[in-house]
Symmetry: C2
Subunit: 441 residues, 2 copies
Amino acid sequence: LSDLSQLVEERDLAGLQQWLQETDVFDIAEELSRLEPEDRAVAFRLLSKERALAVFEVLEPVHQQELLASLREPNVRELLEEMEPDDRARLFDEMPASIAKKLLEGLSPKERRLTSILLGYPENSTGRIMSPEFVSLRASMSVKDVMTRVRAHGKDAETVYTLPVTDEKLRLVGIISLRDLVLADPDENVGHIMTSKVYSAQADVDQEEPARLMREAGLIALPITDRENKLVGVLTFDDAMSVLEAEDTEDMLRSGGLEPLGRPYLSASIIRLARTRVVWLFVLIIAATFTVNVLKFFEHALDAVVTLSLFIPLLIDTGGNVGSQSATLIIRAMAVGEVRFSDFLLVLWRELKVGAMLGLMLGLIAYLPVLFFFGNRIALVVSFSMFSISTIAAFSGSMLPMLAKRVGVDPAVVSAPIITTLVDTTGLIIYFLIAMTVLGL
Amino acid sequence: LSDLSQLVEERDLAGLQQWLQETDVFDIAEELSRLEPEDRAVAFRLLSKERALAVFEVLEPVHQQELLASLREPNVRELLEEMEPDDRARLFDEMPASIAKKLLEGLSPKERRLTSILLGYPENSTGRIMSPEFVSLRASMSVKDVMTRVRAHGKDAETVYTLPVTDEKLRLVGIISLRDLVLADPDENVGHIMTSKVYSAQADVDQEEPARLMREAGLIALPITDRENKLVGVLTFDDAMSVLEAEDTEDMLRSGGLEPLGRPYLSASIIRLARTRVVWLFVLIIAATFTVNVLKFFEHALDAVVTLSLFIPLLIDTGGNVGSQSATLIIRAMAVGEVRFSDFLLVLWRELKVGAMLGLMLGLIAYLPVLFFFGNRIALVVSFSMFSISTIAAFSGSMLPMLAKRVGVDPAVVSAPIITTLVDTTGLIIYFLIAMTVLGL
């Protein structure tokens, strides 16, 4: 598999063609995305027409865009014409508006209309990723009629496994699965065998909502309606899975103090990588200057007992770690729906108890070695600080993400790095207050 | 929706029954899992037989187990008998072996056999979550024959949308989708319309592998074979989605310095929560004692210029943040397959450049304010340390997860907290070496 880059480098056309023929579409796409743009174009142009389309659809928008730029116009048009409307909308969305407009105009009227419908929905809304081509049924149809209809129109639809049933005003009244249709008596009425209590989602809600529903309930496809309950599309499980992957990526990166790159890691330039990180670092440095101020405030204590400075990293690391643990736990529990805002006080109380318990254990563990090397009073200061810092860290680590969600901010933004910096400042104040009391400074 | 707990509390049976009738299965399960075990049992027993099974299948194993304990034996047996074999295997897996064995013996011979097959595969292997009941075809069958077969056996199979085709020795030779069957001429041969280049996975590989493949390729179902390519089951997309959710949860929690809880957050006891966290904290504290030793080593410098201690938190926080960013980015890129070990040097070189660029910016930003308050020499020390620490942090933050993966350790384990602690120690050494040089200590 790893030979592709070598084949391209050696311009071994025969070898390339063989490789492209023998490899799975999905593996081709994966290997292509690891090549430099020019090499990728060389290899892509060698694909048979049918495979080229299949590979193209699997690529990331950023690579699709680069490829289009390297192809001749008729080929571009052909590729775009054959794409699924939702994939096409996603691609157009990432292009400069003027180019997208020109390409849109090159499409056939039908495909242009389908794409325009999707692009009419707000970014990140369900409407953007649904399929506007679907087979819909009426309750009065017989199973036999339905099968005829599926045979006639099933080729264009993205799925035929979940078929929505509507009334004469196109309002969703139920769904029926192809499995039930196949197992049913051909003369049976759709209305009798359809499921009328169905999950559905509105086209203007955030994509994450229906995607999580589909994962939890294990749905292959979900009918999408407008605000009047009129059927406008169908969301399929593969698009839902992509949304969830992107959401999880976003959560993870934000928890690590980064913004999503919007493209594969190896395709992002150094400048782009630095840009997605520097803003966060800058914010965190500003926050961390509080620690300088706190220490400056207690400089006389540090001056009197230099030993106190030795434990600063240990204590703030511990606080940061306990805080990150709580934040990570709560952010994930909220993301998968285990915890809601109504659990706020319950969660705070639980984390307070866990934090205190952890602080007690860590404080006890720290006591003996510090006693041995630095004496009883310093050991008391360190242990007692560790207990207090752990408790406060667990408390704020769980509180901040929940409050963030409440005011409409992604909880992952208020996670590890932010909490670490916040807990540092509070932790240092506590440490010095305890030290001054115990040591009588 | 949120009335359930109130209805149970008031023992309002009529209200409860109405609520249980009007609510979707999936929502019932979600609300039930938020109740106390006894209340959950009260509400569950009021469900109609059919709905009880549907709700039971959606619950987490820990709640299933609690419910079983509260039900009478015939009901337990009935519930277990009707479960999907893979869900049942998962439940048995989490029970004490003696109880699982007793319950297994209560099953019908057929269901017992299916469950035993799944339980025979290693934990976390694909065999555990596949469905051993499937409709399989021969290439020589006509489409008409197939439809008859689907109608006869389709009720028991977990999916009929992707049908595996085997030879006479049960070796996988292709797949055909129900959609293609419905669209095909009834007299056509399966061999002519099946796809013979198919994705499949072996039953003994880690679940994550086929699950990621299914997400990337958008597959509804994947044939699972043994090492001789004999068909042994089918993995469906809903089980794949659950695996990926669990994997992402595991990655996130480990990145935050925790082990997975194995149950919903609110169902975990305080003791369990503390236990999943204390081991990590303990390891990190041991690691953090290096910082105490480093500072002890440089105590004379601290003694001479107490001002140096003011910047300790700022510098180690910055190092920790840059390091976590790199680690998070690389861990996720590896998890979704964008980066492999063969990219090791490329990634290190990129992160080194990004780290240096970030360090340069942050060092420049820090210079002026420190100059203003603490003078030129301290400002030089802080800026230069910030540059060096950022570079090293980005470097080690990207290197460690890749090396971890290489030696078979989950990269997420070597992430934020570990890297923070490591970078702290290195960072402090660098800081003091620079300080001693610039300040001539």
